[in-house]
Structures are given as C-alpha cells and as structure tokens.
C-alpha cells in the first residue's frame, strides 16, 4: 500500500496504529476489583488516503467504522496512535490550531435532521462554517450559501426555509453544501445515505460523486452497504471489531475478496451478477462484541476456514497473492517464503 508505495504524492491523511478505547461503566463488583471493561472500538488501524482518492470503510454495526471517521477528525480523542493531515499531526495540535485546520476537513453526517440546528434557516446552516472561520462578510456568506445550494442542485428558494420544511434527501444536500462551504480538501461521509429513502439514495450518491470529481476532493466514505460503496470507492477497507481485516483497490476486494469475512459480506449483499451466486460462504451469524472479543483472530468463531492457530494469534495484515492486504492465517501470503 501507500505505506511503502511512493508513486503518488503525499497522502492527505495518514493514520498510524490508531486506537480508540471506551471505558465501560461495568458493575460495582468489576469496579471494586479494578477490572475496568473496555470497548476496543478501534484497535490499531493504519491506513493512508491519497489525494483525490475515495476510501470506503465498510463493516457491520459495532465494527468501529463511525468511530474511525470521528477519530481521524479528532472529534473523538484517540487512546493512542497518530493521525496526520497533510503532514500535520492532528493528534498533537492545540485546540485553536486544530480548530483552524477543521476548515480543510469536513464531515457529512448520517442523519440530516439531527445534524443541523432545527432553528436555523437553510441559508444560515450552510453559512455557519464560514461564520465560525470568519470568512467574508455576513452578506457575502449569504450569497455563497445560495451558490452552494445551487451547487448541490437546490434552487435559491430553499435559502429561507427551515429544516422541517424540506425532505430528508434535500436536507442531506444541505448537509453536503455545508460541508463544502469552507472549500475543504478532505471529507468524511459517515453513512450519508443510510437514513434516506431508497429512492433518493442514488441521487445523493451521484451528487457526492460528481462534486468529488468536480472539486478534486479526497473522501473517506463510511458505509455498511457494499452496493453503495462499489459506486464511489477507489479503495475499500473492511473493518472488523476495530481492526482492518482487508484493504485493497475496489477491483481487488470486490472481484476476489480474500478474507473470509469480506467474502461473507459480499455474498450477503444482493448481486445482479449470477456468477456470484452460490459462492456464499458461512452466514455471518451472531454479531461481534467489542468488549469481550474472541482470542486470537477475532473472527475465528464465525470463520469457516478457522485453523487452530487462529485461536491463539491475531494474524498480521500483509499483502496476499491477489494484491490486497489481508489479515488472515488461512490466506497464503504474497511472498510465501516468509510467512509472518
């Protein structure tokens, strides 16, 4: 991957061994005995996102994908590890430095209704990021807000409306316009279509895709929906219980998924391609739990390929025969002579 690859420019975002752990309340007994239970939402994630690229992060609920999105923007403080944006280590910045940086990296939220202030008009919602960064005058911000509305395909009549007066799809466009208001270069989209009607999902995805091309954005796209991801992604990272189990280009991961978990996810998604049918691997079964994780490879209780070593040791994320990086003992490594 880009860790070693140098054919492309400096990554926009570099994440190194990022861990975010949440202490759980636990009962009185566990607190008295000093055994604080910890949810390992992120447990050593390393990845790079190159300029202009869309990295899709997929995983089921509880895999830590939303936590990843929030931690890379430092909306959630990591427990350890580093995040660098354009060479600046975000995890080290002071509050005010970080605040100014936020202009260049924005977020699109899952639920458009809850992520805007219900008392503000759409124009003011879009103008707010410019206001907090002191960009332009009140008047020029208002004009720019209307430009942005038009950019996301809403006419200027929407400027004076309130959030409850527009549909979810329209409001999500406003969310996108707000994210673009400060001309950021990096966007985290946290399941931007998950709470929308199926009928407007495609529209929203098209819009996001077009804007990305038009403005040269770099995108981290978080989703649980492979069908959505395959439309926008350049690369795909599969997250399972806070760790990347497979990461590679869209083609590598979609055509020849190596990790049994990725295979299960792909086979669970409905596909119009008849050749893919019947290749279903084991059903996903019981949902994972980030507090009491299985020993060794966290996937082994659900894995059809599990071998004894899987119970003992967590596999290293390494390049496999097909090209992508996979964390699995059962998949032969690219350089078979030196297994990790």
């Amino acid at each position: 991957m880009t860790v070693s690859g140098s054919e492309s420019d400096v990554p926009v975002l570099s994440v190194r061994d990022l861990r975010t752990h949440f202490p759980m309340g636990g009962g009185l007994l566990s607190r008295l005995t000093g055994k604080r239970r910890v949810a390992h939402a992120l447990d050593g994630v390393t990845l790079d996102i190159r300029p202009g690229e869309t990295l899709a992060v997929i995983g089921e609920s509880g895999s830590g994908k939303s936590t990843l999105g929030r931690t890379v923007l430092r909306l959630q403080e990591p427990t350890s590890g580093t995040v660098s944006f354009r060479g600046d280590e975000l995890t080290r910045l002071r509050r005010e430095e970080l605040r100014r940086k936020r202009r260049h990296m924005q977020m699109i939220f899952q639920n458009p209704y809850s992520s805007v202030n219900r008392r503000n008009r759409l124009r003011d919602i879009i103008a707010e990021p410019m206001h907090v960064h002191g960009i332009g005058s009140a008047e020029s911000r208002g004009e720019r807000a209307i430009e942005l509305l038009e950019l996301v395909g809403l006419n200027s009549d929407f400027a004076r409306r309130y959030p409850h007066e527009v549909s979810g799809g329209q409001l999500q466009r406003v969310g996108i316009a707000r994210a673009l208001a400060t001309e950021p270069e990096f966007l985290v989209a946290d399941e931007p279509t998950a709470s929308l009607d199926v009928s407007v999902r495609a529209n929203t995805m098209n819009l996001l895709h077009d804007l990305k091309q038009q403005l040269g954005l770099t995108l981290m796209f978080i989703s649980h929906d492979l069908a959505v991801v395959s439309y926008v992604a350049d690369r795909i990272a599969v997250l399972y219980l806070g760790r990347i189990v497979e990461i590679g280009t869209k083609e590598e991961v979609e055509r020849a998924p190596q990790h049994p978990y990725t295979q299960a996810l792909l086979s669970a998604a409905p596909s119009p391609d008849p050749r893919r049918r019947g290749k279903a691997s084991a059903p996903l079964g019981e949902a994972p739990n980030a507090i009491d994780r299985p020993s060794g490879c966290h996937y082994h209780p659900r894995c059809p390929l599990a071998v004894p070593v899987c119970r003992e040791k967590y596999p290293v994320l390494e390049r496999k025969v097909n090209g992508q990086q996979v964390a699995c003992h059962a998949v032969p490594s690219a350089d078979a002579a030196s297994p990790a």
Binding site: S114, S115, V132, R178
Partner: protein, 335 residues
Amino acid sequence: MALKTSRRNRAAASSGADSGAGTPARPAAEAGLLRRLAGKRISLLSLIGVVGFLLLALVGPLLAPYDPAALGKTSLAPPSAEHWMGTDEVGRDLFSRFLYGSRVSILVGCLAVAAALVLGALLGMVAGYRSGSTADGAIMRLMDVVLAFPLLVLVPVVTGVIGSRDISIGPLEVGAEVQVALAIGVALVPTFARIARASVLAEVREDYVLAVRSFGGRRRDILFRNIMPNILAPLVVQTAFALAMAITVEAAVSFLGLGIQPPGASWGTMLADARTSIPLGAWWLAVFPSAAIALFILACNLLGDQLRDELDPRTKSTGSSRRTERAESGSSNDG
C-alpha cells in the same frame, strides 16, 4: 375516539393556517407565539394581566392624583371619589401610594428575575457543557448551598450584608430597591441554573453540536449560537413563575421591614403599614395591595402554565392539553 381525532386534526389544521406560508404546525416560529397565546381565553387573560401590571409600573406614577408622601387632612378616610382607595393613618392618599408602590414592587421583581435568568442561565450552561468537570461540580454545589437556605432567610441576610442603604459605585447610585432586587435575584439563580444545565445536557448529545464542532465552531459558537436558542423555552417558562416568586418574596421581606424601607412604598410595606390600622376597621389599607399581589401572582402563574403548554409540549399535562384543544378548535370556528 373518532371525534377526538377529528378535533385534534382541526386544531392542527387551524394552527397551521395561522402560521401561514405553508409552515407545518410543529415548531411554528416565535412570531406565532403571541398570536397562539392570544387565541386562548386563559392565556389571553393572563397575558393581559401581566402586561397590564407592567404598564402600571411604567406609567402608574404619572396618573397619581397626589404626592404619595404628602400628609393630608383626613386620616383613615374610606375610599371616596376624592381618594379612590382612601387614606392611611397619616392622611396620605392610598391610590397614589399604590401606584408608586406598584412600580417599586414590579420593577424589583423584574430586575430580580432578569438578574437570576442571566446569571443562572450562564452558570447552568457552563456547568452543563462541561458536565462532570470541576467547574460543573463547583457551580452546582454552590447552587445547592443557595438552595439550602429558605428564601425568606436568605434575602434579608443578603440585603443585610450589603446594607440596605444607597451605595454609589462611581457615578452609579445603587438604590435600596436595586439591592433588594439583587438579593432576591441571587436566591432565584439556582432554579435557572438547574434548568439550563439539564437542558444543555440533553442538547450536547445531539448530532448538530458535533457538527458545529466538526466544522470548527468555538465553544461560544456552540453554546451561544446553537445550544442557547434551543434551551430558551424552559427558561422562558420559568421566568414567568420566578416573577411571581420574586413578587411574593419582595412583599414578604418588605412586610417584615427587611426590604424596602419607609417612607418608600411597595406592596409589602403598604401591608406592613396596614397592620396597625386594620383593627380600627380600615380594610382598604390591606385589601388593595393584597389584591394586587394575588392578581399579579395568579396572572404570572397562569401565563407560565400556558407558555409551558405552548413551548414545551412534552411536559403538557393532560388537563391543560384538553383545554388547549378545545380552545384551539374554538378559535378555528371564529376565524
């Protein structure tokens, strides 16, 4: 059941039409609030009551026929065409004293509530935004200390400490009335602080707060531009109740001789003056200030109830919601 539903629909439709311009009924803007209050008999009456008393405080003394401190010829004269509310022991015109006293009582009440609202909301918002921090702990424990004192003890003590005489801070002269008002204000701060803190606690978990943070909002952007407008409703409701409370406390403290000092008039001091004359049959000395206190408090409390129904539908009581419904469908018939 069917009848009930149709009523509700009608009520919803009528309020939707009221706010106009295709605005759905749900969070109709503040502009519609006064109109909605005016559409119901109880809230209209309470609104008229409160506004009427506030006007009385502002313009009342201009209407006074006599100097409130001037001693007249006839003492303890019953109400007549000449003295609408009669005269007191030393022959002062009671109506004039009542007009001046109303101004003092109401302005003290308003100032006290304003001070409590500003200070309480500020402290509560800081505590709520940084819940669990040392600042939160310190602020809320301080509020507990204030709450631990009975109002009627706390206010005289605070006025006693600052001394109820005029103090001048530079060119600014702080009258005894202001000191009493501030003392009452201090006593009312904890209620506002608690309401503000609880409301902020609920709001900070909302995604929109995270969104403001994500695009680089400062704490003041988050608190004052985004959270504050969303927590105003419960504070406004409390303001109405607090106004009633402030008036009661002022009257009680002044009655005890620990608030407004003679010869200054307020509803409380007028009642205190009446004490010695009531056995002589001078009922008018007690009736007018008492009635004013009772009416003002009643109006404030009713207005508070109605504001709560309008602004904070979650805490709507079943009884008043039924009343609201009837009143609203009634207004739709009128319109």
